[in-house]
Amino acid sequence: MSEQLIEHFIQFSYIAAAVLFVLSLKWLSAPTTARRGVRAGEIGMLLAIIGALLHHGIVSYQWILVAFVVGSLIGVPMAVLMPMTAVPQRTALSHAFGALAAALVGTAEYYLKTPNLDSFIMIALVLEMLLGFLTFTGSLMAFGKLQEVLPTRPVTYRGQNFVNLALLGIAVLIGAYLVVNPGATGLFLVFAGLCLLFGVLLILPIGGADMPTVIALLNSYAGLASSAMGFVLDNKLLIIAGALDGTSGFILSVIMCKAMNRSFTNVLFGAFGQVQVAAAGKVEERPVRSATPSEAASILETASSVIIVPGYGMAVAQAQHKVRELYESLSKRGVEVRFAIHPVAGRMPGHMNVLLAEAEIPYDKLSEMEEINGDFPYADVALVIGANDVTNPAARHDQASPIYGMPILDVDKAKTVMVIKRSMNPGFAGIENELYYMDRTLMLFGDAKGFVGEIVKSLSDGAHG
């Protein structure tokens, strides 16, 4: 093959990859075509990699091969062995890897070309470094918090926002100076260091409950870093793939924001520290009604329509398989069972759906908040398992509540409400849930897995006896 022919092949493989990536996302829109989407993405990636390997400037494949082997050795176990509850951590780690790659390639380019870099390339390079390095350390922090090797509670101190903004300001100023004077290699290192530090400080004040937004935001940053790399290397495929990833993360973070009633500026500046410094005032003892598993079972059995509201607590208690048994047992008796999923249920966007799908609950039984909220008044029973704030009616009417304005599942409108809970302690956010004190509410005290298991048991006992 002549040199020119290879060059044409490389360009066409990149174009084909870009088309396949777009198709990949298009097919992902529905569960029926989603796996085809993954195939398309894989083929696109394979073509692009072949194209890159044929690049005429490559003199040795030795290190590339080593990197492929090591990368696969890390990547395969991370994908195959990771439990579904740990998918958010894995996602955070992969954002870190992606951002690191972008930042390192940017660094390498800088040292190869300095000081002969025109200012436009330098702008792209500075952005690539900024986004790459801050996303790298930020994602590692997010990983640490999700894995609970770091404290999940927000870490705050006085003047935190000032320190963060000042640091970002200095980094941007140095970045701007580098654009004009690309030869200042000493400052380049300072710049890289500041970006790394900023990533840590950015995520430090963010609590566990805000992780869905943070992960989506970091996803967006990692994508934009890849896109900036495309400008630096003049590679259109990188620009396209990075832009697709960037917008995807952006949309997801907007959705998460809306679901938690946060403003968008809050997200962009990452200042979404702790909202939940709740006025945990009135700790009055109010009467609640409770019920035993067999009482719950007999109510469920005679219902015609049941909506289950799962929260992350269900996954923590590893109760999803018992919940599936309950679903099957009730379905067999002709009870219509559906699941209401709040957008922030779980630790990342869509996490709860994956956890329920893993427990073999059919996806056509999983309904989004907007879709199902109108059906609660017609439901005989709403069964809340491990969810709290997203069911609190105070969000609708109590302006003093920290969660006021947050869209919630209208669980309180069901004819009977059942809540499985360990005790009456207020949840993660420390907000009292008035749902628990309603006349129609039955509290089912116990561990989610054990309690659901006992309901299932009394249901099957009842059938025989």
Partner: protein
């Protein structure tokens, strides 16, 4: 600003709008697999990393490039695998019985 970079900006903006339209259509049911997939796709940074690692223009660039290839390959391999693993679990009611 050269025409190349200008073309790059056009491409970036158009791809961004295309992304907005595509992602809006993705069912919230699949938002986790979506993030895994876009993450795998943006590991296309592997292309740039391969060139940097293979050209061996300086020791530093080779080292950085090799680490970058390793990180990207981790995402390529892991990202597609876990997306597919998750999607395999999404079944309809009738599909389960068969």
């Amino acid at each position: 600003m050269t025409t190349d970079l200008l073309t790059g900006l056009y491409i970036f903006l158009l791809a961004g709008f295309l992304g907005l339209e595509l992602i809006k259509r993705v069912s919230p049911l699949l938002h986790t697999p979506l993030m895994a997939l876009t993450n795998a796709i943006s590991a296309i940074a592997v292309v740039g990393s391969i060139v940097i690692a293979g050209e061996q223009r300086s020791t530093l660039s080779t080292v950085l490039g090799t680490i970058a290839v390793t990180a990207s390959v981790t995402n390529v391999v892991g990202g597609f695998l876990i997306t597919d693993r998750m999607l395999k679990m999404f079944k309809k009611k009738d599909q389960k019985r068969s």
